[in-house]
Symmetry: C2
Subunit: 139 residues, 2 copies
Amino acid sequence: MNIGLLLFIPSRAVENRILAAVVAAGFEITQAQARVLMRVGPDGTRLTELAEAAQVTKQTAGFLVDQLEKVGYVERVPDPTDGRARLVRLTDKAREAVPVANEEMARIEAEWEQHIGKRRMAQLREALDMLGEITDPYR
Amino acid sequence: MNIGLLLFIPSRAVENRILAAVVAAGFEITQAQARVLMRVGPDGTRLTELAEAAQVTKQTAGFLVDQLEKVGYVERVPDPTDGRARLVRLTDKAREAVPVANEEMARIEAEWEQHIGKRRMAQLREALDMLGEITDPYR
DNA sequence: CTACTTTAATCAGAGCATCTGACTAAGACA
DNA sequence: TGTCTTAGTCAGATGCTCTGATTAAAGTAG
């Protein structure tokens, strides 16, 4: 079986489960919004960087940030180092969702480890981490 | 780093590259269409099965199959075993794209193996294959 | 300092993908 | 026969994403 599909299936499983957990906890957010939100750094991130990291156009990133801003998960503040730019920052409301996501992630990892074993899990992580070096355009 | 993202990044890299290769070879197809097309079995597959496998609704799958049919990559034939159902089958035109996709896939795997080594590649495949058992809703 | 080039972001408009809900027709079965 | 389930479609709405054009600020070469 094709390794692309082999990667895609668990990747989507993670995405779906985390999104479902966050939504179940009362946060209203979509997959696309979450993909952008996830990339916002602790001190705020520029729209252009978000777009690159999430691999969408600036317009798309802007559209999603607009929505996230409207429902209060991010705010845009001027970038003190560049008058053209603005920094997208997480609000406290968004930060409350982080532990919910982390807990679900931990649950998933525990299930996986249960199924494939600790050793294989570590090998998986190592291999993926190295692959990131050549496939992550943001790294 | 979150294993969901770790999986997602190379998974998308594969998708993008294969699609690009197929498009560059003159086939006009989109990512969403390809995801459905990929699941069509050698003897044809029902729309409902395609929808499940690709994890979209029947309506979405139907919409994509309509387009694929219009440009001649699939055909719908009556299912001899069930009067309600129809089988979606690949046309010869679609089959011509298969080697193009396979060659690109082989190229990607070679690059990856070059980077992470044969042993890790085998471990990766093994771990993913096992994860499929618990994350692939179609398996 | 001025003029040109690049970069960050937005606006406008379009197309594609996806969903929910309602419906039709055929099969399964009591 | 009548009821329930299943395969697929129709209609309508929303969401996501893109290309192209624009504005404003920064950087740079003369």
